[in-house]
C-alpha cells in the first residue's frame, strides 16, 4: 500500500510532482527520500509541485514545512508550486501559515524563481 513519490533531477534541480492524496507514511517516506536524494546529487534547488493536490491537512502541511527547513539546513532552496485556490483557503482558515516559503503559481514559474534565487 506504500507508494513512493518519484523525484526527478534535471540539471542541478530536483523536481517532485505530488500526484495523489498523501497518507502519513507516504509523506514521511517522501521527506526521507528527498533529503537522501539531495545528499546523493548535491542538487541546490527543489521544486515541489502540488497542482494535483486538492486538500492539505495540518499533518501534510507540517511534513512539507519540515522538509523545507531540513533542505535549507542541507543548503538547498525549495519552491512550492501549484497550490490550488481550495488548498490556499483551507490552509489559512485552518490557521496554518507556511511562512518564509518560496511559492510560485506553476512549475515553470517555480523553476524560474529558483534559478534567480540560486544565481543571486
Amino acid at each position: 500500500m506504500n507508494v513512493r513519490i518519484p523525484i526527478l533531477k534535471p540539471k542541478d534541480t530536483l523536481i517532485v510532482s505530488i500526484q495523489w492524496e498523501l497518507d502519513d507514511q507516504t509523506a514521511l517516506q517522501f521527506q526521507e527520500d528527498l533529503l537522501t536524494k539531495l545528499h546523493e546529487t548535491s542538487a541546490r534547488g527543489v521544486v515541489i509541485d502540488l497542482t494535483s493536490i486538492d486538500f492539505i491537512d495540518s499533518f501534510i502541511a507540517k511534513v512539507l514545512g519540515d522538509v523545507i527547513s531540513m533542505s535549507s539546513l542541507m543548503g538547498a532552496r525549495v519552491v512550492i508550486t501549484g497550490i490550488q485556490p481550495a488548498v490556499a483557503i483551507t490552509l489559512i482558515e485552518l490557521g496554518i501559515r507556511l511562512e518564509d516559503v518560496m511559492t510560485a503559481l506553476d512549475l515553470e514559474n517555480g523553476l524560474e524563481k529558483l534559478q534567480l534565487e540560486l544565481e543571486a
Binding site: E21, D54, S58, A86, L94, G95
Partner: protein, 133 residues
C-alpha cells in the same frame, strides 16, 4: 432525515478512509471544490485527534436535510480520556502534540456549526456541520 455511514479509526490508514468517505458524500451532495476541501480537511483533523489522543474511535458522516436545506454532519466520537479543559483547546495555538494537528479552532472555522461534548474518563463527541449554500 439523515443518511449515514461511518469509519472506525484505529490506524493512520483509517484517517485516509474517513476523509475519502467524507469527500465522496460532500461531492454527492453537490458541495463545490472549496467546501469539499474544507470538509475533507476537517474530517482529517478530527480523525487524527482520535488517533493521537484517544487511540480509537469513530467518524460518522451523515447527510442532513433540514427545512429544505442540505448539509453534511461529521460526528467524531471516542471513548478516550476526554478533554480536561475544553476552553483551552478551543484557543488558537494551543497544542499538546508538538504542533501536530491545527486543533479544534481550525476545524470550527472550516465548518458552519461546531459542538463538542466531553467527559473526563468517558470520551469526547464532536459534531460539525457544513450547509450547502
Amino acid at each position: 432525515m439523515s443518511d449515514q455511514s461511518s469509519v472506525e479509526i484505529l490506524t493512520e490508514w483509517d484517517i485516509v478512509a474517513a476523509r475519502q468517505l467524507g469527500r465522496n458524500v460532500a461531492k454527492e451532495l453537490g458541495f463545490g471544490t472549496v467546501d469539499q476541501a474544507r470538509i475533507t480537511t476537517a474530517i482529517s483533523e478530527l480523525a487524527r485527534n482520535i488517533y493521537l489522543y484517544a487511540g480509537q474511535g469513530r467518524i460518522e458522516i451523515q447527510q442532513l436535510t433540514e427545512n429544505g436545506m442540505k448539509g453534511i454532519l461529521i460526528i467524531a466520537a471516542d471513548s478516550g480520556p476526554g478533554i480536561p479543559d475544553v476552553r483551552k483547546v478551543m484557543e488558537d495555538g494551543f497544542t499538546t502534540s508538538g504542533g501536530l494537528g491545527a486543533g479544534l479552532p481550525g476545524v470550527k472555522r472550516l465548518m458552519d456549526d461546531f459542538k463538542i461534548e466531553t467527559i473526563q474518563g468517558e470520551g469526547t463527541d464532536i459534531r460539525a456541520t457544513k450547509w450547502l449554500r
